[in-house]
Symmetry: C2
Subunit: 156 residues, 2 copies
């Protein structure tokens, strides 16, 4: 349904937590406690974020994680690339697939346009924006028909 993965959702929470704690390293346990996301999941996500450079880690006792670069230089697209895989609405690239032979697949170009528009939107939002408590935004009614996917609700 064109939605991001739960991992990405958690990942942004984790990153926001690191933004709030910038200056000090956080262990995975700290992050888990702060975000209420299960520890093993936090560990998994932090590893992914570390490998990509969005966060840096120090090992050993007194080790932990901290943000790898300023929050306003990390875009939502960066986060999605790391945790959700590259954004690709669709890709009809195989040059000799049957659908091409049928000459009914000229659709690709327009999907690319859509893909670009999404990409731009994701590039413009930074982690700093996400961390900003924009709690009560005027939700201008454009989320018509959104189903409650209800992420992040651990039944405790």
């Amino acid at each position: 349904m064109l939605r991001i993965s739960r991992i990405t959702d958690y990942g942004t929470m984790i990153l926001v937590h690191l933004v709030a704690s910038s200056g000090q390293v956080c262990s995975a346990s700290d992050v888990a406690a702060g975000t209420r996301v299960a520890l093993p999941t936090v560990q998994k996500i932090l590893k992914l974020l570390t490998r990509s450079g969005l966060v840096v880690s120090s090992r050993g006792a007194e080790g932990g994680y901290s943000l790898g670069k300023p929050a306003d230089t990390i875009s939502a697209a960066d986060i999605l690339d790391v945790l959700d895989g590259p954004v690709a609405i669709t890709e009809c690239s195989h040059s000799d697939s049957q659908c091409e032979l049928e000459s009914h697949c000229q659709v690709g170009g327009s999907w690319q346009k859509i893909n670009k528009a999404i990409r731009v939107a994701l590039d413009e939002i930074t982690l700093a924006d996400l961390a900003r408590p924009a709690r009560e935004l005027p939700v201008q009614g454009l989320t018509r028909g959104i189903t409650r996917t209800v992420h992040r609700i651990e039944r405790e």
Copy 2:
């Protein structure tokens, strides 16, 4: 990975086929033959499209499907709503979930902004655009890192 479902992908092909055959009704078999998508799948998708009004059907011998309204009045968002479910990047709406209590979930507002941007992009593209053979667009290198998801390739 923020990608549309295969059903939606096939669905656009089917709709484009109907656009190309506008004026005459097409049976499900016709569409399957024209698009090279397996017949049962075509039937399933055409049912969904019919129920939503994007295509109209006539039953009985000599029956079939045709476009329900002009191609330039059907947006990509319409198609996605029908075949992919409503577009909802994420929804953190549950008012008393733990993550809210932790005050780390102020992320919602920004996701809504992204959601809106995507919505706009999807609203602006019409089926007529998708049907237009824009085969050789200058793919301006903005699909960096796209993995080849390679839909639509039946191994025959």
